[in-house]
């Protein structure tokens, strides 16, 4: 029963099976809302459970979350339009990534989704021209540190983050979907070639490209922070587009392992598949959130944090990087 769940599986279940919230008591609602806020899924939750019977207080909080998500959607689309205009001058059509792509294409993964920075993908050959065009249009550097700047330019899959001086919004300009130091090398050119034009003059990745990118982001790059939201994206994309040709696409980018793991974890978290082997550890990390919205399981979290750096850099480089960072701090 609901009372036995003391981690973010409560939230996963509410997303997958909205009817499960109907029996919640005040404490259950309080825990669910705190988790949803902490995992940046409250807008998504609000849309999933809309119309179900629930206490008025929960209804009011979720109505606020829906309004906030709608405002966030408008702001994200406006930011994308600003980037489109800035890059039109150099003949570059940016490919939108992640949340902005989902709302721009009107996908279910975008419904209620919180959107932070604007993420775009451009051809690596165009990166200098893109940077110049954005700077000319009012974006500025966020990180003035020369080491960080040099690190980004040499090793990362994106420019150092830029922020717009008037709108105070960040843009991440990617030229591929994983850091160059990662052992896997996705084919960014193919992702761009297969991208889909929207009526607005912007582009998104193909559905399978979006799925591969989500899996890459989740399992080959970060420390699984925001993992629940990422897996929810994947579940929505699969629901909407199916998995035809997904194996071949994942294989082309060297991300088969990550993609199949994503699909298994989606079935576990949002379905009734039983986790086995290392999947159990991933579930443990992804659901490490309690009813106060607190991060829990520090050892598991640390292990995945270490893993993220291990994946991102060869050992000697990692040592040099941590040494430099430590000296500067």
């Amino acid at each position: 029963m609901v009372g036995a769940v003391n981690d973010a599986r409560l939230l996963a279940r509410a997303l997958a099976d909205p009817g499960s919230v109907v029996g919640l008591d005040a404490a259950g609602w309080t825990a669910l809302l705190a988790m949803a806020r902490a995992e940046q899924l409250i807008g998504t939750l609000a849309l999933r459970v809309d119309g179900l019977p629930m206490p008025d207080a929960a209804k009011a909080i979720l109505a606020d979350a829906r309004a906030a998500a709608e405002h966030g959607r408008r702001a994200a689309l406006w930011e994308a339009e600003m980037a489109r205009r800035a890059l039109a001058a150099i003949g570059c059509q940016p490919v939108l990534l992640k949340g902005t792509a989902f709302v721009a294409a009107g996908l279910s993964a975008g419904q209620g989704r919180s959107i932070g920075d604007l993420d775009i993908l451009v051809p690596r050959a165009a990166i200098d021209a893109v940077e110049a065009a954005l700077l000319a249009a009012g974006w500025e550097w966020v990180k003035p540190d020369p080491y960080d700047d040099a690190y980004y330019r040499r090793w990362m899959h994106e420019l150092p983050p830029l922020i717009h001086r008037e709108r105070d919004r960040m843009i991440d300009v990617h030229h591929t979907i994983l850091p160059l130091t990662t052992r896997v090398t996705p084919d960014a050119g193919a992702l761009i070639d297969d991208s889909v034009a929207l009526e607005s003059g912007l582009r998104t990745l193909s559905p399978n490209g979006m799925l591969v990118h989500a899996a890459a982001h989740l399992f080959a790059d970060g420390d699984l922070a925001g993992g629940l939201r990422n897996l929810w994206d994947i579940r929505c994309l699969i629901d909407e587009f199916g998995t035809d040709g997904l194996d071949a696409e994942a294989q082309r980018h060297g991300l088969s392992r990550e993609m199949t793991r994503s699909l298994r974890l989606v079935d576990t978290l949002f379905g009734d598949r039983k986790a086995s082997g290392t999947d159990r550890l991933y579930i443990r990390r992804i659901t490490a959130r309690d009813g106060w919205g607190r991060p829990i399981r520090p050892v598991t979290r640390l292990a995945f944090y270490v893993r993220s750096h291990w994946l991102r850099m060869p050992p000697a480089m990692l040592a040099r990087h941590l040494w430099t960072k430590w000296r500067k701090s």
Partner: protein, 286 residues
């Protein structure tokens, strides 16, 4: 969390969890006459916690967290735990509130109409509100006035009144019977003492009021009042609202509506007594 407390202030429910008993005990005492969150479901969660386990005991240091957090928020010593709780609750409002346009203003009410006073820290928002409340106005809040975009009404948010430095003595003189929290000397904001709003403020906190007058008080000047042009009042209020940008179009409509409907007046005052006279004169001229 180990220790927990829930309360409703105006329309907003809070749940405060703490690694220590002391801040919760202080909140229980000072908020004892306040109701519980609607349906037992708080709008916001606040967490007071130790960054490292041993920090619960050795030089205990209170980190401020919750649904919404500022990465650079500095921890406070445990003896200022009550201040940490109040700051954390304000932070949830400032960063998370979406139902109302938050105006950084104190508010008092008379005959169903609200008087709003805004200004930077030290302008006298809290002091003037407590002095006016002692003269028969209903106290609605000293930090945030909640403007409902749907109705244009002001909702009360009568949290504990945060008195700083000289304002402590002034408020104690005006409200000799008020219940007070402990004196917190040498906080990052100076000496602080929390005062419980009077019984009427708590009893009527669910009653909104129609805004009638917007004042921009300034302490330490010759007594003078002058109208503030609408464009200036609008811009100053966008800066005095923490969620104006986050509310988007709804925030713009709410604020332009307020400025269009309500006269804005700058009030320079040398002391509390003059300020009361100036405010009463402006009010009766409405």
């Amino acid at each position: 969390m180990k220790h927990a407390f829930s309360v409703r202030i105006g329309p907003v429910g809070f749940r405060i969890g703490s690694d220590w008993r002391a801040p919760i005990a202080a909140l229980e005492t000072l908020y004892r006459d306040y109701p519980q969150p609607h349906d037992g479901i708080p709008d916001f969660t606040v967490r007071l916690f130790a960054r490292r386990p041993w920090r619960r005991f050795i030089r205990p240091s209170v980190e401020i967290g919750g649904d919404y957090m500022l990465p650079e928020a500095a921890p406070l010593p445990l003896r200022q735990g009550l201040l940490a709780a109040e700051m954390a609750m304000n932070l949830q409002m400032a960063l998370g509130a979406r139902r109302y346009l938050l105006l950084h203003a104190s508010a008092v009410e008379r005959d169903g109409r609200a008087l709003l006073m805004t200004g930077i820290s030290g302008a006298g928002k809290s002091t003037l509100a407590t002095l006016l409340a002692a003269k028969g106005w209903r106290f609605m809040g000293d930090e945030f006035a909640l403007l409902d975009p749907a109705t244009g009404l002001i909702h009360a948010f009568p949290r504990l009144i945060s008195l700083k430095n000289d304002a402590i003595a002034a408020a104690e003189a005006a409200w000799p019977d008020a219940r007070m929290g402990p004196l917190l000397p040498a906080t990052p904001k100076g000496d602080i003492r929390h005062m419980v709003p009077d019984a009427r403020a708590i009893a009527l906190m669910d009653m909104p009021a129609t805004p009638a007058l917007l004042l921009f008080p300034r302490y330490g000047f010759e007594a003078e009042t002058r109208p503030v042009p609408p464009a200036e009042a609008f811009v100053r209020m966008t800066q005095a609202s923490t969620n104006y940008v986050a509310l988007g179009e709804a925030g713009f409509r709410a604020l332009t509506g307020l400025i269009a409907d309500v006269p804005s007046v700058a009030v320079d005052y040398p002391d509390g007594a003059s300020a009361i006279d100036q405010v009463e004169a402006l009010w009766s001229a409405l």
